[in-house]
Symmetry: C2
Subunit: 239 residues, 2 copies
């Protein structure tokens, strides 16, 4: 936690917050903060700054907050991911949030097992918690939006073309002829398949919707590695 993310419900006055739970524990055990100590804070979807500890008890801490700095720039990226395996999903969420992804679409694909959609990590609270961890890691306040689409074809045919408008649209798929571009200066949309990849049919449908198929070299990477590798390649100047 390099920044404590503050939510509406934490504010007891316009410039005062009361925090509990995980953030309080971190304040005490990792930062070893005491009265008068300043820690980096940010208001969700708002400015960043610092909070000065006014009081600290067993159950909560009160901080006087000064919010005067903008968060780091968002990545100009729409990331479209085949729903990952649950044990990987949490980490992927945190990684996306820490890298500045603000628009994440979780879609179905032939090789996405039905059970993946049952994971409790998809609940609104769990999504918010994991995205918060990623934002707090990288010192950002802008909460990503997560969309789920459990049917591949209607999403790709009816929604995707509009999502791609004005963007460089790519689908990363091993074995394609074109290498993944780098140093993009324009907004982009990037589709990444599941373990085992999109099927040929799915790649064709994504191409029909406007995506260019690109490869990432001879190595096949896990989704949780491919996401930072591809984002870094596309937007190294934005990170």
């Amino acid at each position: 936690m390099n920044l404590a993310l503050l939510f509406e419900e934490d504010f007891v006055a316009p410039d005062r917050v009361r925090i509990r739970g995980r953030r309080l524990d971190h304040l005490k055990t990792v930062l070893k903060a005491d009265k008068g100590h300043r820690i980096p804070v940010g208001k969700v979807n708002g400015l960043m700054g610092h909070g000065e500890v006014l009081s600290l008890t067993a159950t909560d801490a009160e901080l006087q907050v000064t919010l005067d700095q903008p968060p780091p720039p968002a990545l100009p990226l729409t990331l479209i991911l085949a729903m990952p395996r649950p044990k990987m999903f949490r980490r992927v969420l945190q990684t996306c949030a820490s890298l500045g992804v603000k628009d994440l679409w979780l879609i179905n694909s032939y090789k996405v097992e039905k059970s993946f959609w049952q994971t409790p990590w998809l609940s609104e609270d769990n999504l918010r918690d994991n995205l918060t961890l990623g934002l707090e890691q990288s010192k950002d306040t802008m909460m990503p939006r997560v969309h789920t689409r459990k049917l591949f074809k209607p999403f790709v045919e009816d929604e995707l073309p509009a999502l791609l408008t004005g963007k460089r649209a790519l689908v990363a798929h091993p074995g394609m002829a074109a290498p993944c571009p780098s140093h993009l200066k324009t907004p982009a949309a990037l589709c990444i398949g599941p373990e085992g990849g999109f099927t040929d049919y799915e790649v064709r449908k994504l191409e029909e919707a406007g995506c260019q198929s690109v490869h990432l070299g001879p190595r096949i990477l896990r989704v949780e590695t491919a996401v930072p590798v591809l984002i870094s390649r596309l937007f190294d100047a934005c990170l």
Copy 2:
């Protein structure tokens, strides 16, 4: 497992292997292979190719192997990592192996907790197993070498300068003036600190040994995210 990595002890003849355990399970349950089925294989530190299933029993499988393709190019990188927290270490090992890192140095740093060095994941067998998983993921055969150095100062003063000879040497550290370079065409050495970063003293010692301090933008990333992001940035053409 996109490739089954074969070791000396698996060979029962120059072109025949017998496999058991994890690789056998994968063959049966994920690949659902049967007699005559071909799977991608590679010989550790050697060529890649395919193995044709000759027989399959409850306890082992025998494959006839044809090895005729070179593994993907190694990354021209010496990666020097402050020893990560154990729960992160396994994943970092697998990620490094899957990205083509071949020379990994695990070093001490002020913020590396002493207990990190006690992890069973540092045993020779566990290192080999986790690096194998990374190589099998990305279809590579060249086993990375892992070096551990539990004393920071002697390593940085006595060994590091020679390691950096002929390489672009960098230490990634938040808040430095220079941005991390990209598109390197030359060999590089990259130092990455622990959670909480190297201390100022440590950064100075690394600079004295020949490293340039560079930042990676305003975001602070976990080590497991920073590794693929930095590697992708430095060597996007090699991945």
